[in-house]
């Protein structure tokens, strides 16, 4: 059993990193920042200074337990449980800090999560994702975990747990616009994706069938991909504006130089390359013998394309769609610059007002949306690959 003991005593490298980072954050970085109002810089406070003694001790003890598990335990389930405990403790600590530091009835003072909080959250989050990776959950289990996590977060938000934190203060002010901008954000990302798939799929099939086209099409799309988003919005303004001026119907449909139209067009253009390239790559991977057999057995060209070629290429095509969706959710943020709406509205307003809390109100949901989309589509791709090797 000597080897078993030796294995148990070995220190987990990721655990060591997580522990070191977490400890440094606790010791030297501010857990919360207390600001007199939403713009002025504030005083940094450590976790121990903010919480009452008993709560601080409980909090530190729990985090030490988490660190111990991170360092010494190899069981992935235990590691995941510990990491989740860490997330809950850090979240509870920040919520409590918000409630304690906000004077009753005062709506001007802001309690903002400090860098220490964010670093701690990333550390326990890293430990949780690492534990999930080690557990190798099936796709359905990963989706379930995402749903549970989202439900827990939404419940806490609805319950008002974090209402005294600065970001939620910004939310309270912007609640009506927030729901609208989230819808707009999702609509811009999904709409441009749908348009891109409708065009890119046939284009990819064509590039596969006619190899001479491939270099030119992929080269052009590559060049588009290298144009910075802001530059592309600028480039599109003039032609779309001219179109709206010349064709009244276009203007009635909402096409103009600024707003959602150039945003959707730009996102559409960015979406083409990943979908076309993955369609070509997926079709290229299809066994020529399978296609030959399909034709030889009397399938029509359409049946060969849909029943064999696209079916077999689908996981690769979906991988392209996943790339596009995650990329679009991020890029839509920039669309706010030209009046396209979306969560970027809060980001750019926040930058303009040097109100970092407002920036976060736009940025955090964007990251959450992109992360959820990635998990969902990854699960879908993996389910297909499991079924059809």
């Amino acid at each position: 059993m000597a080897t078993g003991i030796a294995r148990r005593q070995r220190i987990d490298p990721l655990g060591a990193l997580v522990t070191a980072v977490g400890a440094a954050a606790l010791l030297w970085l501010p857990f919360v920042v207390l600001k007199p109002n939403r713009i002025l810089p504030g005083d940094a406070r450590s976790l121990v200074a903010v919480l009452p003694a008993s709560a601080a001790i409980a909090c530190l003890a729990s985090l030490m337990l988490v660190a111990l598990v991170a360092l010494a335990m190899s069981n992935a389930r235990v590691r995941l449980a510990a990491a989740l405990l860490g997330v809950i403790v850090v979240a509870a600590a920040i919520a409590t800090a918000g409630n304690l530091l906000t004077p009753a009835g005062n709506r001007v003072v802001r309690v903002a999560p400090g860098s220490g909080f964010w670093v701690l959250l990333v550390a326990v989050g890293l430990m949780a994702t690492d534990a999930i990776t080690r557990l190798r959950p099936r796709p359905a289990a990963r989706v379930l975990m995402l749903a549970l996590f989202a439900a827990a977060a939404l419940l806490a938000l609805a319950h008002g747990t974090f209402d005294h934190l600065s970001v939620m203060r910004e939310y309270a002010v912007n609640a009506g616009r927030f729901a609208h901008e989230v819808r707009q954000h999702v609509w811009l990302a999904l709409g441009s994706l749908a348009a891109a798939v409708i065009v890119a799929l046939p284009l990819g099939i064509l590039c596969h069938r006619v190899p001479r086209l491939r270099g030119g099409v992929l080269g052009t799309l590559n060049v588009i991909q290298t144009i910075p988003a802001i530059a592309l919005f600028g480039i599109l303004m003039a032609p779309l504006g001219a179109l709206a001026a010349a064709v009244p119907l276009a203007a009635q449909l909402g096409i103009r130089g600024i707003g959602a139209a150039p945003a959707v067009v730009a996102l559409f253009l960015y979406s083409l390359l990943p979908v076309v390239a993955n369609t070509v790559a997926g079709l290229k991977r299809v066994s020529p013998a399978a296609v030959e057999a399909a034709r030889g057995m009397g399938m029509t060209s359409w049946q060969v394309l849909t029943g064999v070629e696209l079916s077999l290429a689908l996981p690769t095509i979906l991988t392209g769609i996943r790339i596009v969706l995650v990329q679009n959710i991020g890029l839509v943020t920039v669309a706010a610059l030209i009046g396209g709406g979306g969560l970027g509205v809060f980001v750019f307003q926040g930058i303009g007002q040097t109100a970092i809390d407002l920036v976060l109100l736009g940025a955090i949901p964007t990251v959450a949306l992109a992360f959820s989309a990635a998990v969902l589509l990854d699960a879908l791709v993996e389910t297909m690959n499991r079924a059809r090797q």
Binding site: A289, E292, A293, A294, G296, S311
Partner: protein, 311 residues
């Protein structure tokens, strides 16, 4: 009966198949043999119009195949290829049921046919129907490929190097199975190979192709004893042609009434194997036994040797 009339295929200035005319007998295995680039696969693929002829006609039972849409023609003709070409995303049962479903058979009939074919190919339906191709061995994949080609009970089966990817032992078994299958379903089989031994073993008639032309099309024994062309004799090989000739006749065909105290030889064994057994045992004659193990005659070395010469 399949009739090829003046069939040619040209790509630009290159002629791949040049004016081939052949009559392919019903209920038999016809083998087209040739080196790579001889045009043999192109010739085969013109029968089910995977390749459209540049000129000439293909008639099946007197009907010009060009008269019906190619995909409908192909549903009536089985097609099996090297490397099996199974659909990796479909189960064994779905693969085999491909053509019956294209033809609109109802589910029950498709399932019954799939089970029947799996049983014929010595694959337990309960175990194999739900498996995916990658879960099968090479030999099993090949059998499923042939089963799929036969699923809609085609009168004609085209096979393009069907055993090319198999190792020698499994290949010999697959060849025996094909001979059984041909008798069982009375299918007209046209098979393409580059392997002359395989051609002799399977073909009741063999066409030797080179540079797009059929040099000789006849029974294997005739190819050996009266090659029409130096290329044909090079393909058939001259060093062991006597042994090849012996391998074309079975012990049962040569046995004469009488008993022998020598070793026993199955009536279905080739004269080549019978001779080998007699040489090994140092005997002058063998007792020939039928499939039930009953003696049915005797076979002498002299009688065997007489069949190893051109007559």
């Amino acid at each position: 009966m399949i009739t090829l009339e003046q069939l040619s295929k040209r790509y630009g200035t290159t002629t791949v198949v040049d004016q081939v005319s052949m009559a392919i007998e019903r209920n038999s295995i016809t083998v087209i043999v040739g080196t790579s680039g001889s045009g043999k696969s192109t010739l085969l693929r013109m029968i089910n119009r995977l390749v459209e002829p540049s000129s000439g006609r293909v008639l099946i039972d007197g009907n010009d195949t060009a008269r019906e849409p190619a995909h409908l023609l192909r549903r009536r003709i089985g097609y099996a290829i090297q490397g099996h070409g199974l659909f990796p995303h479909r189960t064994v049962a779905e693969n085999i049921g491909t053509v019956p479903r294209l033809l609109g058979w109802d589910q029950g009939r498709v399932r019954a046919r799939v089970d029947e074919l799996l049983t014929v190919f010595q694959l337990d339906p309960g175990e194999f129907a739900g498996k995916f191709p990658h879960q099968l061995s090479g030999g099993q994949q090949q059998r499923v490929g042939v089963a799929r080609a036969l699923a809609a009970e085609p009168a004609v089966l085209l096979m393009d190097e069907p055993f090319g990817a198999l190792d020698p032992i499994i290949r010999a078994k697959a060849q025996d199975d094909l001979l059984d299958l041909q008798r069982r379903f009375a299918t007209t089989i046209v098979l393409v190979t580059h392997d002359m031994d395989e051609a002799f073993r399977l073909g009741s008639r063999v066409a030797v192709m080179s540079q797009g032309r059929v040099l000789q099309y006849d029974r294997p024994a005739v190819l050996l004893t009266r090659p029409a062309d130096p290329f044909v004799s090079r393909m058939t090989g001259s060093a062991d042609r006597a042994m090849k000739l012996l391998s074309l006749t079975t012990a049962g065909e040569v046995a004469v009434p009488g008993a022998s105290s020598g070793p026993t030889v199955a009536a279905s064994a080739s004269l080549r194997d019978a001779l080998s057994e007699l040489v090994w045992r140092g005997a002058e004659s063998a007792a020939v036994i039928d499939a039930n193990g009953m003696p049915c005659g005797r076979l002498t070395v002299a009688a065997i040797l007489a069949h190893g010469r051109p007559d």
